[in-house]
């Protein structure tokens, strides 16, 4: 019961976020009060909640791809079979750190085209980096003697991976996933410019048409989503750490 305590607040925050996003009339009222005399209060092409789903869709799909690819590549490169590629991959991840996220996105979109699908792919591409980097460092951080004991117990390599390496590397990997997702939320905001929808649309609309209320709507939704997701990840990380501590003391 106590491990859920870490998730309670973030989940509540997420629920609150969705509820607030759904309350379109409230938005109209509040924005109308902040910007008296302004007639263009809300983004015309989608309700706040619809924007949330659009953005979430972008983020979740691309993040799922990033995590899958990053995890797979990270695991591969730390196996004997993939050892040859380790150097190249390590160099690329180091290089990629200097790459402005925006650049990956903007370089990918022309290559992949415009619209939702290519944008998702472009987002997934940049999101791979933090997951890959942390998967590698997390797996490498597993103490050698623990690996040896696992082999001595008779575990086959894939068993060792699933039951020893990944669980131990989980906190580090999770931190990488967290970074990936949060950066994804930010880059997806810009994704609007490639026609993919999401929060970027109202923000840019408001900036271009000098309609501050619309910009604020998009900005608040975006900031809110990023912070809520970050809080959820924080809760997950603490739950994992808590469970490990509990398991350790139980030994």
């Amino acid at each position: 019961m106590s491990r859920i305590r870490h998730l309670a607040a973030p989940v509540a925050a997420a629920a609150a976020y969705l509820v607030i996003a759904a309350a379109t009339p409230a938005w109209r009222q509040v924005l109308g009060a902040v910007f008296p005399g302004e007639s263009r209060l809300l983004y015309p092409d989608a309700t706040p909640l619809a924007l949330v789903w659009q953005h979430l869709e972008l983020v979740l799909i691309s993040s799922a791809l990033s995590v899958a690819a990053g995890l797979a590549l990270g695991v591969f490169v730390t196996r004997p079979a993939g050892a040859d590629f380790y150097g190249v991959v390590a160099d690329l991840t180091n290089l990629g750190q200097t790459f402005p996220p925006v650049a990956v996105f903007t370089l990918a979109v022309p290559l992949l085209g415009f619209g939702l699908r290519p944008t998702v792919l472009a987002l997934a591409l940049y999101g791979v980096l933090p997951v890959l980097r942390n998967t590698i460092s997390g797996i490498e951080g597993v103490p050698a003697d623990v690996l040896e004991s696992a082999s001595e117990l008779g575990m086959r390599p894939w068993q060792r991976l699933l039951r020893v390496e990944l669980p131990i590397a989980l906190p580090v990997i999770m931190a990488g996933v967290r970074v990936s997702v949060i950066v994804n939320v930010a880059t997806a905001t810009i994704g609007a410019i490639a026609g993919a929808g999401g929060f970027g649309a109202p923000i840019i609309n408001g900036l271009v048409n000098l309609a501050p209320a619309i910009t604020l709507e998009g900005a608040l939704l975006a900031a809110g989503l990023a912070l809520t997701l970050d809080a959820l990840f924080g809760g997950v990380e603490r739950t994992i750490a808590h469970r490990e501590r509990a398991a350790a003391t139980a030994r």
């Binding site: 200097t98 402005p100 939320v185 501050p212 910009t215």
Partner: protein, 180 residues
């Protein structure tokens, strides 16, 4: 303090700029001095503000880490020998922390370079104009031009600052260089 800087870091760049749009417009219109300086919802003001807030976290975190990395025994020796707190900070902690602090400055600088593209959204030009403008007009050549230049600048800045960082690292620390 970390919490606050962390929150800022989590907010998407475009959203940050969007959040600043209304307040800065208000300031620009209602505070004549600021208006004359060019403060407003568009232009350099939101970009600079947002960039500063983002740069803050990396620099603060690395500065703290750098100062904390100075071994306790060294600080204690300094105090025990009769240095004042100020002397310890100036002659011992800062010089020893400098490589890490500089690393934070480097990371922050490169990050800021990338973030500066946001300027395009608030009529502040920058490479973002090529990149995002190109995207919205579906002009591949503009996008590529902007993106490649951006990447080249980022890599160049990183390399230049790494060299500077090496110069700033006192000889004793160069052996164990774990430059991040």
């Amino acid at each position: 303090m970390f919490r606050v800087a962390n929150v800022f870091q989590t907010i998407p760049g475009l959203a940050m700029v969007g959040l600043l749009f209304a307040p800065l417009s208000w300031l620009g219109t209602n505070v004549p001095l600021l208006g004359r300086l060019g403060v407003g919802g568009l232009g350099w003001a939101p970009v600079i503000t947002a960039l500063t807030l983002y740069a803050l976290l990396a620099v603060v975190r690395n500065t703290y880490a750098g100062l904390a990395s100075v071994p306790d025994s060294v600080v204690e020796a300094g105090l025990g020998m009769g240095m004042t707190e100020g002397q310890v900070m100036r002659s011992v902690r800062l010089p020893l922390a400098l490589p890490v602090i500089f690393g934070g400055i480097r990371i922050s600088a490169v990050q800021t370079l990338g973030n500066a593209t946001l300027g395009a959204f608030v009529a502040a030009g920058t490479l973002g104009l090529f990149v995002f403008g190109g995207l919205s007009q579906q002009a591949m050549d503009l996008v590529l031009l902007g993106s490649i230049t951006l990447v080249a600048l980022a890599l160049g800045l990183d390399a230049a600052l790494r060299t500077a960082q090496r110069l700033v690292t006192p000889r004793h620390a160069r052996r164990t260089e774990a430059v991040r």
